[in-house]
Amino acid sequence: MSTSELLEMRDVHVTYRTSEGELPAVRGVDLTVRRGQIVGVAGESGCGKSTLASTVLRLQAANAMVSGEVLFDGQDVLTMRWGDLRAVRWVGASIVFQGALHSLNPVHRIGAQIAEPIQVHAPGLAEGRVRERIESLLEQVGLDPARARSYPHQLSGGQKQRVMIAMALACDPQLVVADEPTTALDVMVQAQVLGVLSGLVRERGLGMMMISHDLSVLGDLCDRITVMYAGRVVEEGPAEQIFADPLHPYSAALSAAFPRVGDPSARFAPSGLPGDPPLPWDLPGGCTFAPRCPRAAEVCLPAEPVLTSYGEGRAAACVRIGQPDETQHHGSPGEVAS
Amino acid sequence: MTTTATDKPRQLSASQLARRRRMAAWKRTWGQFRRHRSGMLGLVILVFFVAVALLAPLIASSSGLDVTKANGPVLAPPSSDYVLGTDENGRSVLTLLIWGARVSLFVGLLATLISMVIGTLVGLISGYFGGWVGRITFRLTEWFLTIPFLPLAIVMSTVLGRGLFNIVIVIGVTSWPGTALLIRSQTLSIRERAYVERAQAIGAGRWHQLGRHVLPNVMPMVFANTTLTVAIAILTETTLSFLGLGDPTRVSWGTMLNGAYEAGAITTGCWWYVVPPGVCVVLVVLAFTLIGQALEEVLNPRLRARR
């Protein structure tokens, strides 16, 4: 318990090396999670939030170049020796991946998969103890302990996600990274799962980094929210404030939007926002949001705005904040993002 | 065909859209293929052999194949006038190789065409039509798969007698099930795709959909699979010919190897008669395999992730 900062990300850059060239996915992000604090990361798909999450346990893809610092409990995960890293994984921080569908190994039983990290990190532990642990975990996430014997494909989406949560808590981590834990689920189930998750995290006083495109969800679960766009943080501050009165036009659009039901495949674009998020290999000059921004003006074009603080614990990256908007720019209204 | 006059225009425009999308897809594919090193290697090799096959008459006169015109020494090692030596009839091995390329490629491609047509048809039908049609065709395919390939080919070529086209037919008829199954699974997945449903909503006939929507989308996989089948077909032709079931009146790489084998070229150490034909076979088959794999990787995003 050295510092109260459990996770501290400093100027993290992630760039993918691909045959098409170098794709900057995350461009200089700072983010902090304190013990017992739930931090939400919001943004459309492709804004780099999942990439960011993957760096927490150094799980980024092989072709990703990461720079900056990811301090977990004061140690930089990115430069850690493999041995230490493995020790941090799951014991220090665990992840609830998006799409439990694929994140569970189809040919192993649930029980075995939950047991695995325990056996890896506490090799000594007796069979019986492990089993008890699994059963209690399953109960905690509201599943019948007997489920331990079944295979992933025998569970519904919600149940799978619960299993993921149980698995994430198997080694009592201090930090849980939840990467779009509920995208694949319909609203009702989403609510349940999120309830379970946040509940457990709260009662154990864990830290959690919760990633979602759904600002409303983050709004009522998190303490703080970071909004990302095109690999950068555009706004950052207390959850309810960001949800209630966002500073950045993008945040505004996000909060205005409401989640669409079902259809996991098609990720949604905030309603009222024309066009798609910029492609990482041709980012517009100046403010990357400008092309879609209702309040965009000449001032936005020259340089990319920096994150500047507005009042206590709030910051946003937009030059138009506080300016009156005369010139209304609209993206070509004809197109509708699908 | 239950397409009524009213929804024709929408129908057309939809298909035009699809066509444009497809054109773009082909361009992208080629772009990615160009970056695929082994694929390009295969292509280069293949182009070379195709060129040789096509230009055979210009490179080496066909009279070099006529035993009665051959006046070289018997099984002579490579020399200035016989770059790759001679066979047991005193013919230039090089000439035989060049003309052999024709037969081998011809058989390979034609046989593949047959197996493709059958395979694709059966695959589409069993994949697209559910119910008993689908089930029966699928069973049929599975049954044909359980027939041991080479024995069947051998038996059939004894039944049909020895001739180039018989070989082609044998290979074509025995090698389609693999394709059929592939196409089937492809069709099954595509059938579920949105625009097919749309087409259904519009009320286009099943065959119409099959032709307009499913087929064009299966084609890429068919194409990738074709190249792999050619490889197999050429291998089979060589093997059958080697076993003495080839067309004795035509020179293919397989019949050459058969000749070498029967003339005891191994013991007499006539490597120039044994090695070159084999190498050619390996190169061509390899070329087709490489291209096929490259295409698969390019066309199948799941595989593309591998690179």
């Binding site: - | 015109k69 007698g161 067309d247 084998y261 005891g264």
Partner: protein, 615 residues
């Protein structure tokens, strides 16, 4: 276990390899055979050359063959007499011969065997032709065998029918015999009286092991064991010999012979075998029941003049060098020169020789004039059309021969096309008469009768493949068939060959030979049959199995009995062996390669075997 063994072996190659070489004190003669294997050990079923070899070692025959010209010699029969009318033959059967199970062999066994052939159905197929015209066979006492005939027979006393023990075979019923293996059963060799005993091997197998019969009436063989190993291709066999796994290779190509002749410790040659290859014409296919023409022969080939003229278009020397790989003898008539007594050599003024001009002239004379389009026409001015030449897809020689024939024909202004058939398909085509000419071959047995019979009218639709029918020829055939005066018979046989030569249903292209190679550093005293220039192993009779010796004892080959003065054909030392065998063969213009045991050979074997004639 296999995997383990594999590892083991690769660890101890020396041991494993040493294995074969360690054939000690016992003298084992290992023969590599090629192509089709033994089809049956049952003498009433098998038809392939190797099978005859097996029976030859296992059983005895009433009469044998001389090494020089394969004329009948005493064997089980010590002597024989013919009644003045030639309708009664009396054989004296050797005394004191015993079966391998100890029981005595008597005339009764011989009578039993022959009667079985005479009255059986399955038993007939291979052997009946030898008892042609025989009505009654009896064994009045243990040493006497009496044969009664309808009419005199010229083919007797040639009786290459294996004599089987009555006390064993009487238990094999007519129906059982169809699948009676007659191989070694529960550790016992099949009961026979021959010089060797088959201790292991089954019809489809690839290894056959014989042990010498210590108390063989003809004297104990100089070798203790004979092992036949069958290989699928020449390379394996030849390698096996070079590695010392086998001592003899039978039926290799002339190329391989050439290649082996240089090698130390090995002697190779092409042995003349009494067979020939021919180009046969459709001389008029008919439905044998109704006598109506069937099939669609080109009218041209029906004309003897046309066929004869083509004889001068064949460049046989070229054929021999090119198609038969530089070895071989140009062919003339259907009775090979190996049978000196019966072979008719056409006088130089009649003999075919490569002379396109003459061929052309003969065709012109016969009315096949050159048309304006450079193609010859029928006498009636109709175009000849395209001759259909059939070749056997399983024989490269067959195909190449026809290719040459085609080009020679086109030089004469006659169009032709070559098509290939598998042997069984060709048999059908021939029987349907849907051909103009085809290439095939025959082996000819020592007595010319059966070969001659194939060209008689009566054989059409059965053994005649050229559909040849000629009254004069048939008359002569029937004469010689009952001719008891040897000299007269020879004259008649030669006259028949002359007729065939003129009528040209066959154009005999080549006299065949068999490539053989032996480890002359291990075994010696092989005597060729016919001597000189003949084959060493697959002979008529089993002379060499009885008389070959380990090379170490080669100097006293001559101590060997019959045919001793001929021995030393292959003696221990490389030098004079190649001079004594290699040279004559080479000087003799080389010998035709017989690819019988490779590919198409099967059919030759088959047709040769069908009437049991074999070299």
């Amino acid at each position: 276990m296999a995997t383990f063994g594999l590892v083991l072996a690769s660890l101890l190659p020396a041991l494993a390899v040493g294995g074969p070489a360690q054939a000690k004190n016992k003298v084992v003669f290992k023969v590599a055979m090629l192509g089709e294997g033994v089809d049956s050990l049952n003498p009433f079923l098998g038809i392939q050359a190797p099978s005859y070899e097996m029976w030859g070692l296992t059983y005895d025959y009433l009469t044998g063959y001389s090494m020089t010209d394969m004329s009948p010699t005493p064997s089980l029969a010590t002597k024989w007499t013919t009644s003045p009318d030639g309708k009664t033959w009396t054989f004296t059967v050797r005394k004191g011969v015993t079966w391998s199970d100890g029981k005595p062999l008597t005339a009764a066994d011989v009578a039993y065997t022959y009667n079985r052939v005479l009255h059986g159905t399955v038993e007939q197929s291979s052997w009946i032709s030898y008892l042609n015209g025989v009505t009654k066979i009896t064994a009045p006492d243990a040493t006497t065998l009496v044969m009664k005939l309808k009419k005199p027979s010229a083919t007797l006393p040639l009786l290459p029918i294996p004599i089987v023990p009555q006390h064993v075979w009487k238990n094999v019923s007519e129906s059982e015999i169809k699948s009676y293996a007659a191989g070694p059963a529960n550790g016992q060799p099949p009961v026979g009286s021959g010089p060797f005993r088959l201790v292991s091997g089954t019809a489809d197998g690839s290894t056959f092991k014989f042990e010498a019969n210590p108390d063989y009436w003809g004297g104990r063989p100089h070798i203790d064991e004979v092992i036949f190993q069958f290989y699928k291709n020449d390379d394996s066999a030849i390698q096996a010999m070079e590695k010392g796994e086998v001592d003899f290779v039978e039926g290799i190509t002339a190329l391989e012979v050439k290649n082996l002749q240089g090698k130390a410790g090995i002697t190779a040659h092409n042995g003349n075998s009494p067979g020939f290859d021919e180009i046969a014409f459709n001389t008029g296919s008919i439905d044998t029941k109704t006598g109506k023409p069937i099939g669609n022969p080109n009218p041209a080939v029906l004309d003897p003049k046309f066929r004869h003229a083509l004889g001068y278009a064949l460049n046989l020397p070229q054929l021999i060098t090119k198609v038969y790989q530089g070895g071989g003898l140009p062919g003339t008539t259907i009775i090979p020169p190996a049978y000196k007594k019966y072979h008719w050599e056409p006088p130089s003024n009649e003999a075919f020789h490569f002379d396109p001009a003459k061929a052309g002239a003969l065709l012109d004379a016969a009315g096949y004039k050159m048309g304006s389009d450079g193609l010859r026409t029928m006498p009636n001015g109709q175009p000849i059309g395209t001759l259909r030449l059939a070749a056997r897809s399983d024989s490269q020689e067959s195909l190449n021969t026809m290719d040459y024939f085609k080009s020679w024909l086109s030089d004469l202004g006659i169009k032709a096309e070559v098509s290939t058939y598998s042997s069984s398909q060709l048999t059908d085509v021939i029987l349907k008469g849907n051909f103009d000419a085809f290439q095939w071959g025959w082996y000819v047995e020592p007595d010319p009768d059966s070969m001659l019979s194939y060209m008689t009218c009566g054989q059409r639709g059965n053994w005649s493949d050229s559909w040849f029918c000629n009254k004069q020829y048939d008359a002569l055939y029937n004469q010689q068939h009952v001719q008891t005066d040897q000299a007269k018979r020879e004259a008649e046989v030669k006259q028949m060959q002359q007729i065939l030569y003129q009528q040209s249903p066959y154009l005999v292209t080549a006299y065949s030979s068999i490539g053989e190679a032996v480890r002359s550093d291990k075994f010696a005293c092989f005597v060729p049959q016919p001597n000189p220039g003949g084959v060493w192993l697959e002979q008529y009779g089993v002379y060499n199995y009885l008389h070959i010796k380990p090379a170490s004892e080669a100097q006293n080959c001559d101590s060997a009995t019959a045919g001793g003065q001929l021995s030393g054909a292959v003696s221990a030392t490389q030098g004079d062996s190649s001079s004594s065998v290699g040279m004559p063969v080479m000087i003799g213009g080389g010998v035709v390669v017989l690819l019988a045991l490779v590919g198409g050979g099967f059919v030759l074997l088959r047709r040769r075997a069908t009437v049991g004639d074999r070299e």
